[in-house]
């Protein structure tokens, strides 16, 4: 790492035909920062994450990441149906030619315990519930201690208790993790993030980053159950 920032975007825009999905977004996430992009459904947040991960090219503007292998965790688990839970989690190690050491195995067992999946590691994805599959995807993404994680609504099918336990585990096991969480659930913001931006209708609305612990105090009266800011803001 040779800079104090992890993500930098400058005037980032993305259009599909005439439809502008992202409008001139400039954003900086510093190393070790945990930022939430709070956004209602359809605001363009998944597109933003895909551009940051290099899966799509922006129409204009620039993206810089100070990490070669960010962990990208999608809204849906994207597990391989013919691999067991353990085989799915081991896949990134195989793909990158890394050694699955005893230490990694211990941490994997620890993750399984936190996620209440210890007795499920030899099961296939179709035998698991939606929440369990999502937890496997989180373990697969975070077990390798990535320097940067891009999380696209990763907790939406996970129950509250499990979510709390997993978030605590992320905080304790990966204290240096830089994280960009995209969510439309206002509760998740202060749990996982230190700072928050509000992102709606393809642009950043909040003039500057807000501290996450103040987020609910400031926004709660304006947020309707769908996670959308009401007219008072």
């Amino acid at each position: 790492m040779n800079a104090d920032w992890m993500i930098q975007t400058q005037d980032l825009s993305k259009c599909y035909g005439d439809h502008e999905v992202i409008h001139h977004i400039s954003l900086e996430v510093r190393c070790g920062e945990r930022m939430a992009l709070f956004a209602p459904s359809g605001a363009g947040k998944t597109t933003l994450i895909r551009i940051l991960a290099g899966l799509e090219q922006p129409t204009s503007g620039t993206v810089q990441l100070n990490e070669e292998y960010p962990a990208l965790i999608f809204q849906e688990p994207r597990l391989f149906p013919y691999m067991t839970v353990e085989e799915n989690v081991r896949l990134p190690w195989k793909v990158r030619g890394m050694e699955w050491t005893g230490q990694v195995q211990c941490e994997f067992e620890e993750w399984l315990d936190v996620a209440e999946l210890s007795s499920w590691k030899r099961y296939y994805p179709y035998q698991l519930s939606g929440g369990m599959r999502q937890k496997v995807a989180l373990i697969r993404g975070l077990l390798s201690h990535p320097a940067l994680a891009l999380l696209d609504e990763p907790f939406q099918s996970i129950n509250r208790d499990s979510r709390t336990a997993i978030i605590e585990h992320i905080r304790s096991r990966n204290p240096e993790l830089t994280l960009l969480l995209v969510t439309h659930d206002p509760e998740e913001v202060p749990m996982l993030a230190d700072s928050v931006c509000y992102f709606t209708s393809n642009r950043l609305v909040s003039p500057a980053k807000l501290e996450a612990h103040r987020f609910l105090d400031i926004f709660s009266q304006y947020i309707n159950p769908a996670g959308i800011l009401t007219a008072g803001y």
Partner: protein, 245 residues
């Protein structure tokens, strides 16, 4: 195996039922056919069986390898539409005409039935491969790209597993076609094989013999079906597990 056995029983039951409505010189009953086996079967039946089986397997393997590989290359090069059109066009060439052309080119022997099986089965297998691979899930591919998988890793973890059900249906579909087509090939350009025997029996209206050879062809088809179902169930079952995104 049970499915194949049930299939045979249903066919025998329907055949037995229909045979009650017609005299034995039109539709003999299954019992008539079996009871008279010693009267009409040639002494060198084993030779004919082996020859036909060899032609089915050879022609089918040519079609299977070229059709499946061609389908994969087509998907990888995104040439689905033109290749599909070409294969559909090839499918309408009548087998009898093609058989006569091969007969004129290669004479009587193994070449005509084998090439006929290969040519008539190949387009179906290629189209099936293209369709099967086109329907693979792109979500896991997206994940692989996000972890910087190489092209070979994409093929290994995404394309090849998607190919397993395609191979299974290609084996099932292609083998049934191959059994049907080899008979045509042996009708036109051969002096041995089950198709040749069937043609002779048909010309002489020896319906017991005709029905016996039809049973043999069905047994080929169902036997192969049972074999590849067993292989897939034992060793490749996990590739048929449903996608759970």
């Amino acid at each position: 195996m049970l499915t194949e056995a049930v299939g045979i029983l249903v066919i025998l039951a329907v055949w037995g039922g229909v045979s009650l409505l017609y005299p034995p010189y039109i539709i003999p009953s299954p019992a008539d056919v079996i009871a008279g086996v010693s009267d009409y079967l040639p002494v060198d039946l084993a030779h004919h069986l082996i020859v036909t089986l060899g032609r089915i397997i050879t022609g089918f393997l040519i079609a299977f390898v070229i059709g499946t590989a061609g389908g994969i290359v087509t998907v990888l090069t995104r040439a689905d539409k033109p290749v599909n059109s070409l294969m559909v066009a090839l499918q309408v060439v009548p087998g009898t005409i093609l058989g006569v052309i091969f007969l004129l080119m290669f004479g009587i022997g193994n070449a005509t039935p084998i090439l006929l099986v290969a040519f008539l089965t190949l387009p179906t297998l290629a189209i099936n491969t293209v369709n099967g691979l086109s329907k693979r899930k792109s979500t896991t591919e997206g994940y692989l790209r996000s972890i910087h998988a190489t092209n070979w890793q994409l093929i290994r973890y995404s394309y090849l597993p998607a190919l397993v059900p395609v191979l299974q249906s290609n084996l099932s579909l292609g083998m049934s076609m191959a059994v049907k087509v080899v008979v045509l090939g042996e009708f036109i350009g051969s002096q041995d094989g089950i198709g040749y025997l069937l043609n002779n029996a048909r010309i002489l209206f020896n319906m017991r013999e005709v029905f016996f050879y039809l049973l043999v062809l069905m047994a080929f088809s169902l036997g192969f079906q049972a074999l590849h179902t067993l292989v897939f169930t034992v060793s490749l079952k996990k590739y048929a597990y449903p996608e759970a995104v």
